[in-house]
């Protein structure tokens, strides 16, 4: 350790959201001029931690020391004033403003306090862009016309337009081509040479090896290792730190299938440009197939394309050997597909409505005669479906927004059960579901499969895929890199595959 005090020390940072403890006493220290990498699986608490550091979230407990003095980061502006800048994964630029206007948004150089000196802003923006090695970007251009990589440069220029001492980068390489990544690394090198510290978040171990000085690993809201040497810590050890779990989920037992019936769903060469490449898949009644992969590996896009919510570039989806009309949700639903989407509140639920109406929305024609609803039949059928899934409370008129995450998910499943669907597509089925309620949901999904449904599920939680699915497809950047029965895989192996792309021994 350097003798001088660290640039930043965060100690015992705790942050809870309703139902989740996102951070549980996390420590992090960053030295002047180092690249400190943050590693962890989805949901480990990385984004919450950097939001605390950016002043966007207030910690419930813990202390932040900046250059030897204790500070409270009340707002993003407060953090910015100290010299902490954050570049988020979703770039927060205003597309309809120019590059220079974006860089100086909120702290425009002014005369007499309100007249913006546009020329000065453009000149200093040009200087910043040159420093970043992108002098070809015109400060007068609209940000919306730039490529993703160029937009990222603009974000960085904005960070540097403040007197910045620490830059937080949230998966900066995710949207970049390899040569753009090289330029990014050069910039990171230049910044650290000038004494600026970088907190770097990435899923890609090879990047961390190339530019990182030290690594802190987060898992389930805790820092399980702080300040490991980035270049010399073995991959196996890092993966073990990321995956070692305190919570053991109980997964239902797999039935021993003698001979499965003919496939109900066949996906042939399905692809969408820029999202995922040629996917082949067959799904038989009674089977659960899992897609494992990181955020951005194209998992949700695959499910939504099979479901017809997105139009494929090539390829086709067959149900019972019959080709589905591409890009038509209605055709998919009619053929017996059902989707429980990742963003339940935004994509599945009618939040102002009752459980009954949420469950019956896909089967209304069954309870209607010439458009006239038989409301008691509707209610009884909906209640039968929700009781089968033991949705609580057992009250069909309860408003769906008053239910817990797990019961909201059951309402979505009940919708497809009532509809009589035969292929269930589950996107992150336990997102936002309490740990305690997950085992029950797993049991429900397995039971539905035993009763003859075919299930295709996607999850960023590898143990969930391995524990629940019969067969697993491992995805990396939109491609299937490995297919195997779930029993033949373990978590390390899958993480090696999704991060490094090559099967490790």
């Amino acid at each position: 350790m350097a003798p001088e005090p660290p640039l930043l020390t965060m100690s015992g940072i705790t942050k809870s959201f309703p139902g989740v403890r996102a951070l549980d006493g996390v420590d992090l220290d960053v030295q002047t001029g180092e690249v400190h990498c943050l590693l962890g699986q989805n949901g480990a608490g990385k984004s919450t931690l950097i939001k605390v550091l950016a002043g966007a979230h207030q910690p419930d407990d813990g202390m932040i020391t900046w250059r030897g003095e204790q500070v409270i980061l009340r707002s993003p502006i407060a953090a910015m004033r100290l010299g902490i800048a954050t570049i988020y994964q979703e770039l927060d630029l205003v597309e309809h403003l120019s590059v220079a206007e974006n860089v100086y948004l909120g702290h425009e150089p002014t005369t007499a306090g309100f007249v913006v000196r546009g020329k000065d802003a453009k000149a200093s923006t040009a200087a910043l862009l040159k420093r970043l090695g992108h002098s070809e970007v015109d400060p007068a251009r609209l940000v919306g016309d730039l490529s993703a990589a160029q937009q990222q440069i603009v974000s960085m220029a904005r960070a540097l337009s403040h007197d910045v001492r620490l830059i937080v980068m949230d998966e900066p390489s995710a949207a970049l081509d390899p040569d753009e990544v090289d330029n990014l690394f050069r910039i990171v090198g230049d910044l650290t040479a000038e004494g600026v510290a970088v907190v770097y978040i990435s899923h890609r171990l090879e990047e961390i090896r190339r530019i990182g000085d030290r690594v802190t690993v987060l898992k389930d809201g805790r820092a399980v290792a702080g300040g490991l040497p980035a270049k010399s810590t073995p991959t196996r050890e890092v993966v073990a730190l990321m995956t070692g779990r305190n919570v053991e989920y109980v997964f239902p037992e797999r039935p021993t299938h003698q001979a499965l019936p003919d496939p109900v769903l066949e996906v042939q060469g399905l692809a969408r440009d820029g999202e995922f490449a040629s996917l082949d898949l067959t799904l038989r009644p009674g089977e659960i197939v899992g897609l494992a992969g990181l955020v951005g590996s194209g998992r949700s896009e695959i499910l939504e394309t099979i479901y017809g919510a997105r139009k494929p570039s090539t390829g086709q989806v067959l149900v019972d050997g019959k080709r589905l009309k591409p890009g038509s949700v209605r055709a998919a639903v009619r053929a017996g597909l059902g989707l429980a989407p990742e963003e339940r509140k935004a994509q599945a639920l009618l939040m102002l409505e009752s459980v009954t109406r949420n469950v019956s929305v896909s089967s209304m024609s069954r309870f209607s005669y010439g458009g006239w609803l038989d409301r008691s039949a509707e209610r009884n059928a909906a209640q039968k479906a929700t009781r089968e899934l033991s949705l609580r409370p057992d009250n069909p008129s309860a408003l769906v927004r008053t239910l817990s995450g797990g019961n909201q998910q059951k309402a979505v499943l009940a919708r497809w059960l009532l509809r009589g669907c035969r292929v269930l597509l589950l996107d992150e089925p336990t997102r936002g579901v309490d740990v305690g309620a997950r085992a029950e949901l797993y049991a429900v999904i397995r039971r539905l499969a035993d009763e003859g449904l075919a299930v295709l599920m996607v999850s960023s939680e590898v143990p969930e895929v391995l524990g629940l699915a019969d067969r697993v497809l491992v995805l990396r950047e939109g491609r299937v890199v490995h297919t195997a029965p779930a029993q033949e895989l373990d978590e390390h192996r899958v993480l090696d595959l999704v991060m490094e792309g090559s099967p490790a021994s």
Binding site: L350, M351, E353, E388, C421, R422
Partner: protein, 339 residues
């Protein structure tokens, strides 16, 4: 249709069914805090009218007049309520009423008599709604813009047809419907049409798949789409419905005024939106009631009447309307956050 795959199982514990609250109590507890408060406002207005002008306001003829005036805008508001519940807006209703009323009263149309006038009004209304609906549902235009364009075009076309002249109706039988002789048990035929439209609107919204889909599309269009609802077709139907209501309203206006004018239905869009909003319809969609909207219409019409009887100018009237809209929204936000 395939039957649900899974029969009930015993492994999963079941809760004993709870005692259901009676639907009547649920009605009183939830939706009708709002309806009751609207009824309260209406009662207060009637009281004010009765105190300030006891002889004139409570006179049967005056009450018949208030209800008749409410009928035209009321029919428009029922259609508007559906559109707003679906998350849309229809700014063109006043212009469609104008266009339908002048098209239905041209000399050529009047040759076809009573039936010709009625069907022309309805077809013109539905036709305009069709254009709105196609532009919004399949042309993915923002409803505000599409119906604003229709507002401008329909008014322009109405002016072109009439050349600014009032087209007097000469067909026998039409004007009689506005006369006292045609009242049934003291109820003017126009008011009966309004009542029928209201009842049908209520039934469609609350008892049919069409109403359910409307609410679903307005509450969460993406969820509705992923649940297998044809969101675009539903949107098209909703603007057709609004156009249909405008056609009917235009026919009522022809009966009421005995003529067709290009200035008919002026600012109906604002009155209809305001009535729906104070009736509790969310401008963002997903929630609203026909009863609330109709009460909103009655409140506005009653205010207009009281102000006119007291010889107050329309400027004061406009200010009062604005204040009521603000007050109603503030009160509703309060009740929404406490329940």
């Amino acid at each position: 249709m395939t039957q649900p795959v899974s029969p009930p199982r015993d492994e999963i514990p079941k809760l004993s069914p709870q005692v259901e609250p009676s639907p009547w109590r649920a009605v009183v507890a939830r939706a009708d805090v709002r309806t009751l408060s609207l009824l309260g406002v209406l009662a207060a207005l009637i009281l004010i009218g009765g105190i300030t002008k006891p002889d004139e306001f409570l006179d049967t003829r005056n009450l018949q007049l208030v209800l008749t005036q409410a009928s035209v805008i009321g029919v428009v508001t029922v259609g508007m309520t559906f559109v707003i519940i679906s998350g849309g807006i229809d700014l063109s209703v006043g212009a469609i009423v104008a266009l339908a009323s002048v098209w239905a009263t041209t000399v050529a149309t009047q040759d076809f008599g009573f039936v010709g006038i009625f069907f022309t009004a309805v077809i013109v209304g539905v036709g305009c709604g069709l254009v709105n609906g196609v532009l919004i549902a399949y042309g993915t235009m923002v409803p505000f813009i599409a119906t604003l364009a229709m507002l401008a075009s329909a008014r322009g076309l109405a002016l072109q047809i009439t050349d600014g002249n009032t087209q007097v109706v000469t067909v026998d039988g039409i004007l009689d419907l506005g006369e006292r002789d045609s009242y049934v048990l003291g109820v003017p035929p126009l008011v009966m049409v309004f009542a029928v439209v209201t009842i049908i609107g209520w039934l469609v919204l609350n008892r049919t798949t069409f109403g359910r889909r409307t609410v679903a599309v307005g509450g969460n269009a993406e969820a509705a789409r992923l649940a297998g609802i044809d969101v675009r077709r539903q949107r098209l139907y909703l603007y057709l419905l609004s156009g249909l209501c405008c056609g009917i309203a235009a026919f009522l206006l022809i009966i009421l005024s005995g003529s067709g004018q290009n200035t008919n239905g002026n600012l109906y869009e604002l009155d209809a939106i305001a009535a729906a909003i104070i009736g509790g319809t969310l401008l963002t969609g997903g929630r609203g009631t026909i009863v609330g909207s109709v009460l909103g219409v009655l409140i506005f019409t009653t205010i207009t009447n009281i102000f006119a009887l007291n010889n107050l100018q329309s400027d004061v009237q406009q200010i009062a309307k604005g204040a009521i809209i603000v007050a109603a929204v503030l009160v509703q936000r309060r009740t929404a956050s406490t329940t």
